[in-house]
């Protein structure tokens, strides 16, 4: 359980995080979304106990991160941005060190480390020094370090950054597996990741929460939500088709992508144009090669909500 009340962090004149209030419950996978410089990393650092907030209170598993820091840190696994570690160590010695500091009893340590190495497929690089590893392996060593003590709360700052698509898939799979019994907070600017693993997403920019919803709820805010895209086999019929669709009550307006020849019909408020459009196509013999119902586009919601903000 993470309880964040009025969290504010000020650096000189810059307010990196501005009065953030939210709670996360076990079983949730919370995705922090935001442009670079939005305050994602700062927020995670405060929760993990690396930064002290300027004002506000944060507690993790009932322990205040400032007054009861060590107890809070004990129930957190944290992957810092960039997955720092000690480059001259091998993954094995590094994880043995973390396990020892984390107080995992010596009798269980070996078995637990083997489990973690297996989960993150580190077996092949255990005896190599970390500075000779690829970015993907370093990231996995960082993840291994975060889960070695089987924490209740996992804070992962850009866990899939720098991984190839297969490794990304594996890490997401791992997050999904762990999500059942843990509370996980990840930050990312890869929006597909939110769809893939998160049960909830918070969009922040300039240190403020701009949206807090499920990924589906966020998508519903997109103008593409319930929009229908079609593509005709015969482009000559396109103009007639567009006029016919424009005339429908269910359709607010249409847009044509000249490059792909794909016509997108945006729904009127609260309407579902798909059934009427597909009936119309059959009736007029448009010969569709593509008919697609859009669920909404997160990237578009993200841009609208953050107002193209970047820092």
């Amino acid at each position: 359980m993470i309880d964040c009340q009025g969290l504010t962090k000020q650096y000189g004149t810059l307010r990196a995080v501005d009065n953030l209030t939210f709670k996360v419950a076990p079983g949730e996978v919370l995705g922090f979304l935001g442009p670079n410089g939005a305050g994602k990393t700062t927020t995670m650092r405060v929760i993990a106990g690396f930064l002290s907030p300027t004002s506000g209170r944060v507690s993790v598993c009932g322990h205040d991160v400032e007054t009861d820091a060590t107890a809070a840190k004990r129930c957190i696994g944290y992957l810092p941005e960039g997955a720092p570690s000690y480059p001259e160590m091998t993954p094995r010695s590094f994880l043995e060190f973390v396990a020892e500091v984390r107080g995992i009893p010596q009798t269980k340590r070996r078995q637990r480390l083997e489990e973690v190495f297996g989960l993150l497929h580190l077996e092949s690089v255990l005896a190599q020094s970390i500075d000779t590893l690829s970015k993907g392996f370093r990231r996995r060593v960082g993840l291994a370090q975060a889960i070695v003590h089987d924490p209740q709360v996992l804070i992962l700052d850009e866990p899939t950054d720098g991984l190839d698509p297969n490794q990304k898939h594996e890490v997401r799979e791992l997050i999904r597996q762990m999500a059942k019994e843990k509370l996980i907070v990840i930050s990312t600017h890869v929006l597909e990741e939110v769809d893939a693993v998160c049960s909830r997403a918070i969009i922040i920019a300039h240190g403020r929460i701009l949206a807090d919803n499920t990924p589906a709820g966020l998508e519903a805010r997109s103008r593409f939500h319930n929009a229908v895209s079609i593509k005709l086999a015969d482009p000559a019929k396109l103009v007639a088709a567009r006029n016919a669709i424009d005339a429908l009550d269910e359709v607010e307006k249409t847009e044509l992508d000249a490059g792909t020849g794909r016509l997108t019909a945006f729904p009127a408020k609260g309407k579902l144009p798909l059934p009427v459009i597909s009936a119309l196509a059959e009736q007029r013999g448009w010969d569709l090669v593509e008919l697609h119902l859009e669920s909404g586009r997160l990237d578009e919601v993200f841009r609208t909500v953050t107002g193209g903000a970047s820092a």
């Binding site: 944290y78 720092p84 570690s85 000690y86 160590m89 984390r102």
Partner: protein, 244 residues
Amino acid sequence: MSEVLAIFKRELSGYFATPVAYVFIVVFLLLSGWFTFFPGAFYESGQATLNSFFTFHPWLYLFLVPPLSMRLWAEERRSGSIELLMTLPLEIWHPVLGKYLAAWAFTGLALALTFPIWLTVNYLGDPDNGTILTAYIGSFLMAGGFLAVGECISALTKNQIIAFIVTIVVCLVLVLIGTPWVLGFFSGWVTPAITDAIASLSFYTHFNSISRGVIDLRDVVFFALVISAMLYANTIILSLTKTD
């Protein structure tokens, strides 16, 4: 204390994972030997003592401790591993003490490896081994003082070069204010009480006093105080600036 032990082990093995340990030990042994035989005139003095060996130790540490201490915290800051360390369930003093003890133990190892000079002097003559032992203890305490100063300065910056230079300067001052040249300069225009006060702040004075063969409680307390004060300051500095 198990946390301190874990940090201690990691740090100490870290020295041997890179060439740092071997370069340090070799240079330490070569320099301490060279000082003893040439400027120290070990043979020519014709005395069965290790005075010519120990007398140069303040100068030896002055140049060999800063390269060892500069990386202790500056490197953690530069590489970002400080974020990892500070989010482990540790109190700040755990890594401060663990790193310090590892560096001190490592210096102690280098010092212990000078034992051939002790064998030599015992082979050539009949030295007072009690005096030699106290001088070794004094030298080890002085190394501990330098390291505590160096670790504290290293916590102030992420730049190892800055840590190195500032440590050399501070340590140089701590040595020089006890030397006859500096004290002679002061004695012309201040009262002897002030000269004594200045001298009593110097590593040089306290080390010389121990290396004459008498372990005076005041000298031991001096080094113990310097070390504890520096480690305490180190903890405060880190708790205030860990994220910079």
